[in-house]
């Protein structure tokens, strides 16, 4: 095992580092522990997410998996020109997942998945140097995915699921870098909406060329979360605010807003290979169509009008490796590594998603309490290099103003789950 691991690391040493946006890749404790591979892994009910087709090949009549992780993430920001140093104080993120599969007969299986693939909780100090871009954001989305899989032969299955997404967003930023009320309190706006509904689908194919080798393919469609008539709450706005160029009164009364946020399509291909009886190696390649996210456009119904914040994301890849070893009849250990490419391009590094390329190191184990029930533990450490970058597309007085410096993020996510097999 040691040899293999060092080979893998060597192989990867020359590749670029990879991470991404507001995608949270924690959709199962077993698979997370293996670098969040899984498109070609047949192991538990977690497969409903990773590849709907693969549930056809699960042992047992019914499978259940349940898990939750705690994301402890923090970002440091420094600007040397002005001597600014800030840390986020992010609340604990808790992505969770619940999966169930049911084998109706030899060729037909059903599955149900509930998971949280997108989310972001970033909280900077109120009125910090980048408060004209963000004070805090809380973005949540729960996906519910009823799934069906058909075993076409012992070597091939296909599957698909319908996704119902339910999301909420709360976002606060200051209107600009200096507007205050007469007491010096910064003018800011909070946009908030709950219960946003959207729909999509997931499709999968699983091929088993040999007993030991699996090939998997999964496509998850894009889902656009659209807000219509969300609440926009404007705070500390001077009553007599006016446009200095026209002299006209500016109305920034509380009102409504429209906006949309894409959750992009994701294509995954991968393989898994069993060797030496007790080992399983898995490899996944994700391609996420982040280029969908061109701008965060918020339309207010007052004089704030249309606010366009260019994002200009690029498509991004993630390369994942995982290894599993049945160390003991009751204990299975797992480890993995992944290279996550950030979709954020230079000059678009907004502090609401301060994500640059990262490397995820994962580990975990399952402990079998009995033949049916096991406990799954996982751990993720996401490593970010420090990066000098900026957001250059904020406008004040009609001109682009850059906000930037050095960012460094760090994330750990311990998780715990249960698997149950009937």
């Amino acid at each position: 095992m040691k040899k293999l691991l060092s080979f893998v690391l060597f192989f990867l040493a020359g590749s670029t580092l990879y991470a991404g946006g507001y995608r949270v890749s924690i959709q199962g404790q077993k698979q997370l522990a293996m670098g969040h591979t899984g498109v070609a892994v047949i192991s538990s009910a977690e497969s409903v997410f990773f590849n709907p087709a693969s549930i056809s090949f699960l042992d047992g009549k019914m499978n259940f998996s349940l898990g939750v992780s705690g994301i402890i993430g923090e970002t440091r920001f420094e600007n040397k020109t002005h001597g600014i140093a800030e840390n986020t104080d992010n609340p604990l993120g808790t992505p969770f997942n619940a999966y169930a599969t049911y084998k109706a007969n030899d060729w037909l299986s059903f599955g149900l998945a509930v998971y949280t693939p997108y989310g972001s909780s970033v909280e900077w100090e109120k009125d910090w140097a980048g408060s004209h871009l963000i004070n805090d954001i809380s973005l949540k989305a729960i996906f519910v995915q009823p799934t069906i899989a058909l075993k076409i032969s012992d070597n091939l299955s296909v599957g698909g699921g319908f996704i119902y997404a339910n999301g909420s967003v709360e976002f606060n930023k200051n209107l600009n870098r200096n507007l205050t009320d007469t007491d010096g309190n910064r003018a800011n706006v909070t946009v908030e909406e709950k219960g946003i509904s959207a729909y999509g689908y997931s499709l999968g194919v699983m091929i088993k060329p040999t007993e030991k080798l699996n090939l998997g393919f999964n496509y998850r469609s894009k889902i656009i979360m659209e807000v219509e008539g969300g609440d926009a709450d404007f705070q500390n706005i001077p009553d007599d605010l006016f446009d200095p160029s026209t002299g006209a009164q500016t109305n920034l009364a509380d009102g409504k807003f429209d906006a949309e946020l894409p959750m992009p399509a994701e294509i995954t291909v991968g393989l898994s290979y069993e060797f030496c009886e007790k080992f399983l190696f898995a490899f996944d390649y994700n391609f996420t169509q982040w280029s969908e996210y061109e701008a965060l456009t918020v339309v207010f119904d007052n004089d704030a009008g249309v606010s366009v914040s260019p994002r200009n994301y690029k498509d991004a890849e993630t390369i994942r490796f995982g290894l599993q070893y049945e160390a003991h009849k009751k204990v299975t250990v797992r480890t993995g590594i992944y290279f996550d490419e950030s979709p954020v391009q230079d000059g678009y590094f907004a502090p609401e998603t301060p994500r640059n390329d990262s490397v995820g190191y994962t580990a975990g184990l399952s402990y079998k309490i009995n033949d049916k029930l096991s406990i799954d533990a996982s751990f993720l450490y996401l490593h970010f290099e420090e990066i000098d970058n900026s957001y250059d597309h904020y406008q004040e007085n009609g001109q682009n103003v850059s906000f930037g410096g050095t960012f460094k993020s760090s994330v750990i996510a311990p998780g715990l789950g249960l698997s149950y097999k009937l």
Partner: protein, 538 residues
């Protein structure tokens, strides 16, 4: 054993979770104070040091005083805490023994007038800062509004008895360490290691602000005879300044001194045009023919007496200059009255206003005394900012005086229009002679400041005159625009037209940091002016 391994990995992850930069701005030595020691920073000065803006002291303004901004940046290079004697609210103004005092006014904000026009107006609210309620403790910011050079070392300046009699800068009373202390005593008691010392503006500014109503005390070194609005004798200034600076550096402290910007370059003097009377104004335009008819009579007298340059004419197509009293002119009152009385056509002219012919001597006398020392303003005159609220309004004192003389009220009102029929008093305009006195004094003070700074390596010099010149000529750019000295909209000056906005103070802090960095080999980072507000809107 395997579990142990993973626990070890987990522990490693937890430790690594706090993101730290390889080379952090919070690392010791990242920024250096160079040869300066910033651990105890004390600022001595006047309103500009106190953070005064919009015509008063208020908390939001004080928070953006240049010494407080400096201290924030100093803290990144070894600076200590910085305490300011804050007022109690964001209203401004002062209470004296529970009563709202004339010592200070409510803060000015941009407000919508009943006619829907945005303009400066006092903020609503009652002051809550009780001047007799003395703050306890030492304060790093020893800026005292309206203090003059010879007052910084004056013992007992902060005694409340001085406040009651309006003989001293009131705000020192609120945070003086005792009734017998001086501003310098309180500054030195803190054993400063670094200081800013910016004093002298009020030695000439208060004279100018009041349109030169005070006295130029050139040659008089007895400050006991000085009024608040007088110009300090340059020798008095030099002696006081030299002694105060010696005290400031006596403990080995390094520091910054600043010269004085040209007083008459501030918006207070440059905003109101010398010809502010607009013929398209419905309250003024239609009256112009009548006014020119009346002044036509007077203009003939001026011509007859050999002073045609005193003629008063209002244009029907272009903005007109206002009528002012200029005490430097030869007083023609008696001659005017005599000429009018000798004019056989004058009684008929008087009758045309509905007055009896018998009133002719009274009217002749009235015109003589009113217009004996008057002229219209020209491009060399400076109307002070508050004159904009006075020009064209009715002077009620004049109305009652005229009615006492027997004029009907309507006529009395017509002859009491400020700057039109009623000459603006001296305090509303700084005439060229007064500007010269101001410039001479300021230039003498600046020579003193510069030579003292040049003679002491521990004292760095900041050229505030050049700074204001820059604001006046194109402005100072920042990442989202340009800061200029234009009143209200330029961003550099607050609504009192004299004191900077928070953004203006941030620029001042930055040029001081530049000077400290170059003079004392420091690397203190500057602030971004974009984050500092300008004028406040209601």
């Amino acid at each position: 054993m395997k579990n142990f391994k993973y626990i070890a990995i987990a522990a490693l992850g937890l430790v690594a979770c706090e993101p730290e930069l390889d080379n952090s701005v919070e690392d010791a030595g990242f920024y250096s104070s160079g040869d300066a020691n910033l651990s105890k920073f004390v600022s001595v000065g006047n309103s500009l040091t106190a953070g005064y803006a919009d015509g008063t002291l208020y908390v939001a303004g004080q928070n953006n005083s240049f010494p407080n901004i400096l201290a924030g940046q100093f803290a990144k290079a070894g600076g200590g805490i910085f305490k300011q004697p804050l007022v109690n609210d964001n209203v401004g103004g002062l209470l004296l023994n529970g009563t709202v005092s004339d010592l200070a006014s409510n803060r000015l904000i941009l407000d919508e007038s009943p006619l829907g026009i945005m303009g400066p107006a006092p903020i609503a609210g009652t002051p809550s800062t009780e001047i007799s309620n003395r703050l306890v403790g030492a304060f790093n910011n020893m800026g005292v509004p309206s203090v003059k050079s010879y007052e910084v070392a004056e013992s007992g300046l902060g005694a409340l008895s001085n406040v009651n009699t309006f003989t001293a800068p009131a705000y020192y009373s609120r945070f003086a360490s005792s009734d017998t202390s001086s501003i310098l005593d309180d500054a030195m008691a803190q054993a400063p290691t670094f200081f800013t010392f910016w004093i002298g503006s009020n030695d000439v500014l208060l004279y100018a602000l009041h349109g030169g109503d005070g006295v130029d005390q050139l040659g008089n070194t007895d400050t006991n005879t000085y009024g608040q609005e007088d110009i300090t004798d340059p020798t008095v200034f030099a002696d006081s300044y030299t002694a105060a600076l010696q005290t400031m550096t006596s403990g080995g402290a390094k520091g910054i001194v600043c010269n004085l910007p040209s007083v008459t370059d501030i918006p207070y003097f440059t905003t109101v045009p010398y010809a502010p009377l607009d013929p398209t104004n419905p309250d003024f335009g239609p009256q112009i023919p009548t006014l020119n008819g009346i002044f036509g009579q007077l203009n003939q007298v001026y011509a007859f007496l050999g002073f045609p340059e005193r003629s008063i004419v209002f244009s029907e197509t272009a903005p007109s200059a206002v009528v002012i009293k200029d005490e430097t002119l030869v007083d023609l009152s008696a001659q005017i009255t005599a000429v009018l009385n000798a004019n056989p056509g004058f009684p008929a002219f008087v009758q045309s206003f509905g007055l009896p012919a018998a009133a002719s001597p009274i009217v002749a006398n009235l015109l003589g005394t009113t217009y004996g020392q008057t002229r219209q303003t020209n491009a060399n005159d400076m109307l002070v900012l508050p004159s904009s609220g006075v020009i064209g309004t009715v002077n009620e004192t004049s109305v009652s005086n005229l009615m006492t003389l027997g004029l009907p009220e309507a006529l009395a009102i017509q002859f009491s229009a400020e700057g039109i029929t009623y000459p603006l008093e001296d305090k509303w305009v700084l005439i060229p002679m007064e500007q010269t006195l101001v410039a001479n004094a300021q230039s003498a003070y600046n020579t003193t400041i510069k030579s003292l700074a040049d003679a002491d390596d521990n004292v760095a010099f900041v050229d505030m005159q050049a700074f204001l010149n820059q604001l006046n000529n194109g402005g100072i750019s920042y990442d989202a625009g340009v800061v200029t000295s234009t009143y209200a909209s330029g961003g550099g000056f607050s609504l009192d037209g004299v004191h900077p906005t928070a953004r203006g103070y941030s620029l001042i802090a930055n040029i001081m940091i530049d000077e400290i960095n170059s003079s004392f080999n420091a690397t203190i980072p500057k602030v971004n002016p974009a984050y500092y507000p300008t004028v406040y809107i209601d």
